[in-house]
């Protein structure tokens, strides 16, 4: 395969272009798509390339999602942009009561090929209404599939798979990774849902993580090599379905686990993974399972406050030291 460097945004646009060319039933609906190419520019070029298939709406989240659902029920493949994951709350009834339940409720008559794309995450001083990581809500909701990749290669492959999926997908992307570059093959490819990926092999401890925390985990893994701790970084990529096999494989190898996400610790996805590990792999554990997550407070605006609330490289390192009972160096 011939690789070239693309940003996450470019990878996403490319994925949408390819899919929309392949399948005329795909259309994009959301706010500020035509004039703006999307609030973060992930749709730049698409309105021109596919006139009439990129639809600007007034600010009506409830109806944007609901409309996507109706279209999905009647033979279309909508790709819904919600601007910010925080705005899923304006359409919670549509997502939780309609999109997630209709197929089941109607005895499997319907298929709902909808992708709800929601940029999430903090770190941009966007304050309490534009910074949340809400994946746990949707992992908790039967009927939804949840994706949250971090690298351009994964973003492109998973966007394509999500669009082709006949089930509703909540697709999260961290706002901070949009402009991050990474290698993407020129050839067409897709990545199956529910497959995790080892981003850094190790033997002493596994950091199970996803989205932006993968980047922090990789930095920590490098630093720890100097200290003789070989960290394995497991990027889930798809949160639901969860790649339990990969997790079990890695835990059985390293016997030590840290689960890290930017969402707040309490009832975060880490709690679920951790519970499953101790239930099924108790005898493999050589240390307690540690979790890394944000404080249970809304994301504050001021940079020092925000940095304090959300977990990063340092909290990961501290947790590692904690796990190995090392002294935390006071610098």
């Amino acid at each position: 395969m011939n690789f070239r460097e693309l940003t996450n945004t470019e990878a996403m646009v490319e994925a949408l272009k390819e899919e929309m060319t392949r399948d005329p039933s795909i259309f994009i609906i959301g706010e500020d798509l035509v004039a703006h190419g999307g609030i973060f520019g992930q749709f730049i070029g698409l309105p021109e390339a596919f006139p009439g298939r990129v639809i600007d709406t007034p600010i009506s989240e409830t109806c944007i999602v609901g409309a996507g659902l109706g279209a999905a029920l009647t033979g279309m493949r909508p790709f819904v942009d919600l601007h910010f994951a925080d705005f899923t709350t304006c359409a919670m009834d549509e997502i939780v009561n309609q999109v997630a339940k209709i197929r089941y409720m109607f005895g499997g008559q319907a298929k709902i090929p909808i992708v709800i794309w929601a940029p999430d995450g903090a770190g941009l001083s966007a304050a309490a209404h534009h910074s949340q990581s809400l994946e746990a809500w949707f992992i908790h909701t039967p009927g939804l599939k949840v994706v949250s990749p971090c690298f351009p290669y994964d973003v492109k492959g998973l966007i394509k798979t999500s669009i082709r999926s006949d089930d509703p997908i909540i697709f999260f992307m961290h706002k901070k990774i949009f402009s991050r570059k990474g290698p993407v093959p020129e050839e067409e490819y897709v990545i199956p849902l529910g497959k995790a990926d080892i981003k850094h092999p190790g033997t002493d401890v596994t950091i199970i993580t996803y989205s932006i925390m993968v980047l922090h985990a990789l930095e920590v893994a490098k630093e720890m090599e100097k200290e003789g701790i070989r960290v394995e970084v497991l990027d889930l990529r798809t949160l639901w379905p969860m790649d339990w096999e990969k997790i079990a494989e890695s835990v059985t190898k390293t016997h030590r686990v840290i689960i890290a996400h930017e969402a707040c610790l309490t009832c975060g996805f880490g709690a679920e993974i951790s519970a499953r590990i101790q239930e099924e792999l108790f005898d493999e554990l050589d240390a307690p399972i540690f979790r890394v997550g944000a404080y249970r407070v809304p994301i504050p605006f001021s940079p020092p406050l925000e940095r304090f609330v959300i977990p990063g490289k340092e909290s990961l390192k501290k947790t590692l030291y904690n796990l190995f009972g090392k002294e935390i160096d006071s610098k």
């Binding site: 706010e31 600010i59 941009l124 001083s125 534009h130 404080y295 809304p298 001021s302 940079p303 904690n322």
Partner: protein, 337 residues
């Protein structure tokens, strides 16, 4: 423009209105500069061009009246009597800010003067204002609650739900739509199927009135009528101030959705320039006074900026406070390190 046969009283008030509009204009301009120079993190939405709406409406409100404002709310806060020191401090994320640096530009509130807060969610203010109106009714005071919102919000469900409830309960509310022609990038002519948003009053059996939002005296007059109606317990009014956002949706907005020409055309209708000319024609304002006003305001704002810049950032631990009235780690769930 209005103003024939005005009283001594009026001239004072008018100069005050003018002063406030200038204050907002300068505040926003300086904020834009501070943002450009990287002294303000996050993103900001400026209300340059909409000063007449903020000032016209708030000038007929009492200190104990309520307002909810929007992501484009600096003007409303200043017009309602907000402290520019604490505003700048908040914009810069300092501990002396209105929200101790927790809120930022989009989330400024001052409950002591009835500002129930700006909101990052479009139309987020509607349900809140209904609650405020209801409590006024329940407490039997003669306060009034004003909900500022944009043309974009008028297509959101909460608009509908709020106007309906306010109308059936005859709540003392004035819904002020600042129709600045754009919901972010989307033109109101595209997003709304009716000529004037004021027409939507008919869907709730409440008066809907549309005025030139760049004429502070027109706004003031219409607002006065609506507020008096509300105080008398005759229920809500839907007021549309037709104005124009001269700056982008947020600082850094490429503004591909409109032409330079259009913006220039509208800057001729600049509310401040209009009012300035009017006051000069009325011999209420001359170059000298005008200069003084602008200078005084600049001094005040420069002090405010200095105050903000000299204020410290909050202690990191501050991030764990104010979530509940009851303090305590058990409530915020410490991280495992």
């Amino acid at each position: 423009m209005k103003g024939e046969g005005f009283m001594e009283e009026d001239t004072k008030t008018w100069l005050e209105l003018y002063r406030l509009m200038v204050k907002i204009r300068r505040f926003e301009t300086l904020t834009g500069e501070l943002f450009a120079s990287g002294k303000i993190p996050g993103f900001i939405h400026l209300s340059i061009g909409q000063e007449a709406s903020s000032v016209g409406v708030c000038s007929v409100l009492r200190k104990d009246d309520y307002i909810t404002t929007t992501h484009r709310g600096h003007g409303h806060v200043i017009a309602k009597g907000g402290d520019v020191k604490r505003m700048f401090a908040e914009l810069m994320g300092r501990e002396t800010g209105y929200c101790k640096g927790k809120g930022g530009s989009m989330h400024i509130a001052d409950f002591s003067i009835g500002i129930l807060g700006a909101n990052g969610v479009v139309a987020g203010g509607f349900p809140i204002i209904v609650g405020a109106g209801l409590s006024i009714k329940l407490r039997g005071t003669d306060q009034v609650a004003v909900c500022f919102f944009g043309d974009g919000a008028s297509n959101r469900g909460p608009f509908h739900e709020a106007l309906n409830m306010a109308s059936i309960w005859k709540l003392p509310i004035v819904f002020v739509c600042e129709n600045n022609q754009f919901a972010s990038t989307t033109s109101v002519h595209y997003s709304t199927s009716v000529k004037s948003i004021a027409i939507r009053g008919e869907a709730y059996g409440i008066p809907g009135r549309s005025v030139d939002g760049n004429n502070v005296l027109d706004v003031r007059e219409a607002a006065l009528e609506a507020v008096e109606r509300a105080r008398k317990g005759e229920g809500p009014t839907l007021l549309e101030n037709r104005t124009y956002r001269l700056r982008g949706h947020f600082e850094g907005d490429p503004q591909r959705y409109r032409t330079k020409e259009e913006v220039e055309k509208f800057s001729e209708k600049d509310p401040i320039r209009q009012f300035q000319t009017f006051l000069k024609n009325q011999k209420i304002l001359d170059e000298k006074i005008d200069q003084e006003i602008w200078n005084e305001i600049d001094q005040e704002l420069q002090e405010a900026i200095r105050f903000a810049e000299e204020s410290p950032f909050p202690q990191p631990q501050e991030a764990l406070k104010d979530l509940y009235v009851e303090e305590g780690e058990s409530l915020i769930e410490r991280r495992l390190v």
